[in-house]
Symmetry: C2
Amino acid sequence: MANRARIVAAARRAFDAAGPLVSLDAIAREAGVGPGTVHRHFPTKAALVDAVLGAAVADIVADAGAQRGSDEPVEALLSFLEELVVSGAAAHDLADRLGAGGDVGPAVAQPLAELKEELRALLERAQRAGGVRTDLDEGALAAVVAAGHAAYVHPTGGRLAARVVLDGLRVRPS
Amino acid sequence: MANRARIVAAARRAFDAAGPLVSLDAIAREAGVGPGTVHRHFPTKAALVDAVLGAAVADIVADAGAQRGSDEPVEALLSFLEELVVSGAAAHDLADRLGAGGDVGPAVAQPLAELKEELRALLERAQRAGGVRTDLDEGALAAVVAAGHAAYVHPTGGRLAARVVLDGLRVRPS
């Protein structure tokens, strides 16, 4: 693995284990490289955080791609959205606590664009299969996904509450 | 109408029309009473805001009571929750902008307790009718309702997005 990828992987593990305030030195140790090497690839901590978020989104994109061929497109879409909401909550939390806020660096923008594409493909398949509502525009759909996130992070919410919210996207029996 | 009720009704209209920063003098004029009368009934603006929120919740309770006898208990529950989420968003906004925050005064606590009772009754009827999931505890249900609120107030959300979220409470066809 190249040093850059090794550092990003180490940073993901370190953020998970020790929280977002873990030092760059500790990340360098975890990656088995010197601090100078980390600094050369990531001049600021913000750049490293961007790379970590980008890698997390890239993983989600890969998951979505794997769902494309599913012969249960409705389940594939809803399971994917559930994972998106859960892992999105983790990424959101990390970005928030590190002050990245709404700013998305170039290392995140590209996988995010790919994610949008994958999501559109999954949605269209599920709609063509007749199992998912077709009367929501992109904005309303984004609001429902955000609501799934809200249900997941709610003090008395969690994965089941998020799934219930997303299940609202199913076509109702007439 | 007694002065107290007249002032609360005038304050509701004034908050709706002119926003939460409307003066107590303007509310007194709208109510057709003197400023001293307003002050006697509501020594602080917070007390008046509480009374306004309490009146709004009492209206919702009355709506819920009217739904109890519906012969379509699932629709009754979901329509009621939709109104709750929409009017709750307005009340939340008012409370927030006025700094009432999470504090709930005695004028709100009583109608809120009644609302909880009405909600439980509507939920039980809808569940007995077989149309609404029974696998959510009170906390998960609260998270879904909060998510409906989140969908309603989302920048690209609204009433349809909120309704989709609440529709997730329906029992799925097997």
